[in-house]
């Protein structure tokens, strides 16, 4: 059977034009997808049943047992952490927030180790952005700053930017100028019209220099700024000012290098400045397929996009204090529920090590590095493969992930709801 217009749940691009060939409960062919999409749909090896750590290894347990034990762990915890959420659908994220509120937990998502700094910058200065179709149909200047879409978002350029045919840009590849800013000569550089190779940690200075030039203060710029010649800076500022529509996309090269959220703030303020001359937008290249959805769901339910602490009964937010890495690193947290993410692979060693010390439960379709740190792993559906649900694209466009096959696993939202119900029943009998 051929299923068309399938949404790939892997990265923040949420490409929705895939065609899958399905035989029974298996996907046998992926058309239109990138290599990441192919791996997502084809290499989908699941844990067959819930497992619990024993003194010598692992034992299989029933879902009911796993749910009960998870609820007990959370109930007994003084400072529980509910982390992850970015690879599942909004329906699960929403139950997660309800659990956190119910037990006074900290709930955080993967923004904490990716675009958290972008969110902090946006909270200071706002975010001039747009949906990706605006870029596709209008942009004649594209800037990729501190990101490598060729490897990380392989179809970003063909669907939304460089190679995408747009209404006002019918001959896309010829009509668009591509500028790449990075510390390394990455693969995306090969298609760039301008490449600014910034010295590591120099992004803030380069952004400041560009802002100064756009404001007509080029006299104050030294001959070289973080490895970039004044001449090139002036040329690039000119390209931006003369654009009909410019779009900056940035990645972790900006958010996680020296300066962190101040880099992003500077980039946003450069965008603001350019809007006084022409049209310019800026957007983070979000990683996980539904990380933006976790920000959205957390926000409408709690008021904050990530790092929400319910310990005081109200929703409290203070990144650096209520962020997952910090709570773990301080050894504060005494139980963790990890859903649809892999902090074992991505967190700093001290934070990951603490996960291994405390009772940690993983709800995830796949075995990952966090499994090795956990006490229980409960397998579930994978959103967009065998479960339908809502995901938010990196630009905020909500898309419904499809259920393409049935593999007999319970939806993580259902597992979470059972945990929630147990926590409710155990705490008061209303």
């Amino acid at each position: 059977m051929i299923v068309s217009d399938v949404v790939c749940p892997f990265c923040g691009c949420l490409c929705d034009d895939l065609e899958l060939e399905v035989v029974g409960d298996r996907i046998v062919r992926v058309k239109n997808g990138c290599s990441l999409a192919e791996a997502t749909f084809m290499n989908d090896t699941r844990l067959p049943a819930p497992i619990r750590r024993t003194t010598t290894g692992w034992e299989e347990i029933s879902y009911d047992e796993a749910v009960k034990e998870t609820a007990d762990i959370l109930k007994d915890a003084d400072r529980p952490l509910l982390y992850g959420w970015s690879s599942t659908h909004g329906e699960s994220q929403s139950v997660g927030v309800h659990i956190a509120e119910r037990i006074g937990a900290v709930i955080d998502n993967t923004s904490t180790v990716c675009h958290g700094p972008s969110i902090l910058a946006i909270q200071e200065v706002g975010h001039p952005g747009c949906t990706l179709g605006q870029v596709k149909n209008r942009a004649d200047v594209i800037i990729y700053w501190g990101c490598n879409p060729t490897e990380a978002h392989p179809r970003h350029m063909s669907r939304y930017t460089t190679y995408a045919t747009g209404f006002f840009v019918p001959d896309a590849h010829m009509e668009r100028t591509v500028i790449v800013v990075d510390t390394r000569r990455n693969d995306t550089v090969n298609i760039a019209d301008e490449f600014l190779q910034v010295e590591p940690g120099g992004d803030y200075a380069v952004l400041s220099a560009l802002r100064a030039i756009v404001r007509g203060k080029e006299l104050v710029i030294p001959q070289k700024v973080a490895g970039i010649s004044k001449e090139q800076l002036i040329r690039v500022a000119g390209i931006c000012k003369n654009a009909k529509f410019g779009a900056i996309f940035f990645g972790l090269g900006l958010t996680m290098s020296r300066g962190k959220y101040k880099n992003v703030r500077n980039a946003i303020e450069l965008t603001d400045e350019l809007n006084r001359h022409t049209k310019f937008v800026i957007s983070p290249m979000r990683g996980h397929g539904n990380v933006y959805g976790s920000n959205e769901v957390f926000t409408w339910m709690t008021g904050y996009p990530f790092a929400v602490d319910f310990a005081r009964g109200i929703a409290f937010y203070n990144p650096g204090e209520t962020t997952a890495v910090d709570i773990l690193r301080r050894g504060e947290c005494d139980a963790a529920l990890i859903v649809a993410s892999d902090p074992g692979a991505n967190f700093p060693r001290t934070a990951a090590a603490h996960l291994a010390k405390i009772p940690t439960v993983v709800i995830d379709p796949h075995v990952n590095a966090t499994t090795a740190l956990s006490r229980i792993h409960i397998p579930c559906t994978a959103a967009g493969i065998d479960a339908a649900g809502t995901a938010y694209r990196m630009d905020g466009v909500p898309i419904r992930l499809k259920k393409v096959i049935e593999r007999g696993y319970p939806d993580d939202a259902v597992i979470l709801k059972k945990i929630y119900d147990r926590l409710n029943g155990g705490w008061d009998h209303d």
């Binding site: 149909n137 996009p305 905020g396 909500p398």
Partner: protein, 566 residues
């Protein structure tokens, strides 16, 4: 079967011409009936003011830009927070509260139905997700068409039927309720960082004018028999001298519908400015009200501002950028491909600002100068003019000249020279307030047929009971009692069930979402039109099959079907 009897209610029900009558209201299974059995649960109001549930015909509470307002504002989230309590979830925020915050606070004020003022079709799923998390109000979504490429092309071709067919397909696809035009044409121009300055400017690349978009959409709206009229945010919002644009726009509007207005002009305060710059801005509310008094086909809402901090958020992207250039505050912008724009910035309305004082006066003047209260409804364009929790104060100001004078005395000295509010003696009565906050809103939205806005037999039992004895209170002097009374109901009843009591929400909500599905003859349907489909697939970044909002997003959706009139 569940029955409820509300006894000794002092009822004001303008649509049924009931004014301060002490009576009983019988409710069975969510509807108002003639009588109930002796087994019915009884609420004795002891003569307290009892009104149909409040209706907000223009408020921003759910969807992409509202949520972005929250996302970028931890400072506001800290400004209002409540813990989990009983059936109530945690809430955060003051001017852009979380969905539960909005829902509980509206419910506490007796509001049971809210129209979200602006939903971008491409992002409709988001709005509906938040509707589900706003459980105590029935919700409706104004659907944005101001920069819709297919619409502008149909308007350029002077093809009203095609315009109507595109509206019909879009409304049914995104489960929207009504046509919203925000700065028509201007949001498309903003795609290039430009704006339009008059309703006769040409939209870049599309060769249509705002005037043509407005008039064609009005025709399409009536052709489709939509329950609500075109809902317009006029061009040139917030610019000194813009009242001319507003008057010109009003002059375009025919009287095409006997049951309701033909144009809903939202947040009229922001469109009633005289002068040429911020230095000489003055009120032209008299001109606007004169025009509306002569045109029964127009209904407006006040768009009142109240002093304090709030967040401005609108699909009018260029306006927000202008505001950013004035305030240098944090600025967000979010243009939506082929459809519309949007922008957000926080503001502080201050009594020390002459401009803000003039704005405050204009909103009140519009209400006081409009003869028929059905033509000027009470709203703040929440949260743009003020968060909706300020409505009771606005009611107080409309009912009491003394309250207005006391407030006026605290304003910037120059306010008197630029406005007429201090010379207006009108004091609105209870009946007029009931019209401006429910009966008029229901009629304007076209939902009286859904049993909204009145308390006649057959109506939905959405009822607000306030701790106010209107026969014993003189609003002109005891306006504090009025304000306090409207801040917190004794009971808010939603579809026959008490949802809030003395300010606390006591049950889980179960709202409805009303949406419209206009049926169009096959020969005009755009879903199967190769030209429409081709452009959609080429220029949108989502596939046409993935665009419509699935039924699962409206767990309690109520579809209103209409027929296109040939």
């Amino acid at each position: 079967m569940t029955e409820l009897l509300v006894k000794n209610a002092c009822v004001i029900d303008p649509l049924n011409r009931i004014s301060m009558e002490i009576m009983d209201i019988s409710i069975r299974d969510g509807r108002i009936v003639d009588s109930v059995s002796a087994a019915a649960e009884v609420i004795d109001t002891h003569g307290c003011l009892t009104l149909p549930g409040g209706i907000d015909s223009h408020s921003h509470v759910c969807g992409t830009k509202v949520n972005f307002g929250r996302y970028m504002s931890p400072e506001d989230m800290r400004a209002g927070r409540t813990p989990r309590s009983g059936k109530m979830h945690v809430t955060s925020g003051y001017y852009v509260p979380t969905t539960y915050g909005n829902s509980y606070r509206y419910s506490r004020m007796g509001y049971t139905t809210v129209l979200e003022g602006a939903m971008a079709p491409l992002e409709a799923r988001h709005t509906h997700e938040e509707f589900t998390a706003t459980p105590h109000q029935d919700m409706l979504a104004n659907t944005l068409f101001d920069g819709n490429w297919a619409i502008m092309e149909a308007v350029r071709d002077r093809d009203v039927r095609r315009t109507a067919a595109i509206v019909a397909w879009t409304l049914s696809a995104v489960k929207g309720y009504s046509i919203k035009l925000t700065n028509p044409g201007g949001t498309e121009a903003w795609g290039w960082g430009e704006d339009l300055t008059s309703i006769h400017d040409l939209v870049p690349n599309f060769n249509v004018t705002p005037a043509e978009i407005i008039t064609t959409m009005i025709q399409a709206n009536e052709l489709l028999h939509l329950p609500h009229s075109v809902h317009l945010h006029c061009n040139n919002l917030g610019k000194p001298g813009n009242y001319q644009t507003t008057l010109e726009t009003f002059d375009l509007v025919p009287d095409n519908n006997n049951a309701r207005q033909t144009l809903y002009a939202t947040h009229a305060q922001f469109h009633s400015y005289g002068g040429t710059t911020w230095r000489d801005i003055n009120s032209q509310a008299e001109e606007i009200a004169r025009s509306v008094n002569a045109k029964p086909q127009i209904v407006m809402d006040m768009g009142q501002i109240m002093f304090g901090r709030t967040m401005t958020m609108t699909a009018d992207g260029p306006m927000e950028f202008n505001l950013y250039c004035l305030h240098h505050n944090k600025w967000s912008n979010h243009d939506v491909e082929l459809e519309t724009g949007s922008g957000i910035i926080p503001v502080l309305y201050s009594k020390k600002s002459l401009v803000n004082c003039v704005m405050w006066a204009i909103g009140l003047e519009l209400a006081l100068l409009t003869r028929n209260p059905y033509q000027c409804l009470l709203a703040t364009d929440n949260p743009n003019g003020a968060p909706f929790v300020k409505y009771p104060e606005i009611i107080g100001l409309l009912m009491s000249k003394r309250y207005r004078d006391e407030e006026f005395a605290t304003l910037h000295d120059g306010t008197g020279q630029r406005t007429v509010v201090s010379s207006l003696d009108r004091e609105m009565d209870w009946n007029e307030i009931a019209i401006m906050t429910r009966a008029g809103q229901a009629q304007a939205l076209g939902i009286t047929a859904q049993g909204k806005g009145h308390l006649g037999v057959g109506a939905e039992a959405d009822i607000a009971i306030y701790p106010i004895r209107c026969r014993d209170v003189d609003p002109a002097t005891e306006y504090r009692k009025v304000v306090e009374g409207f801040q917190k109901t004794m009971y808010t009843i939603k579809r026959g069930r008490v949802v809030a009591r003395d300010g606390d929400v006591i049950v889980e909500g179960a709202n409805n979402t009303f949406w419209v599905n206009p049926s169009v003859p096959d020969e005009f349907s755009v879903a199967s039109d190769p030209e429409f489909v081709k452009k959609f697939e080429e220029y949108y970044t989502v596939r046409m099959s993935n665009y419509p909002v699935q039924d699962v997003y409206l767990p309690r959706g109520k579809c209103i079907r209409t027929e296109m009139n040939l």
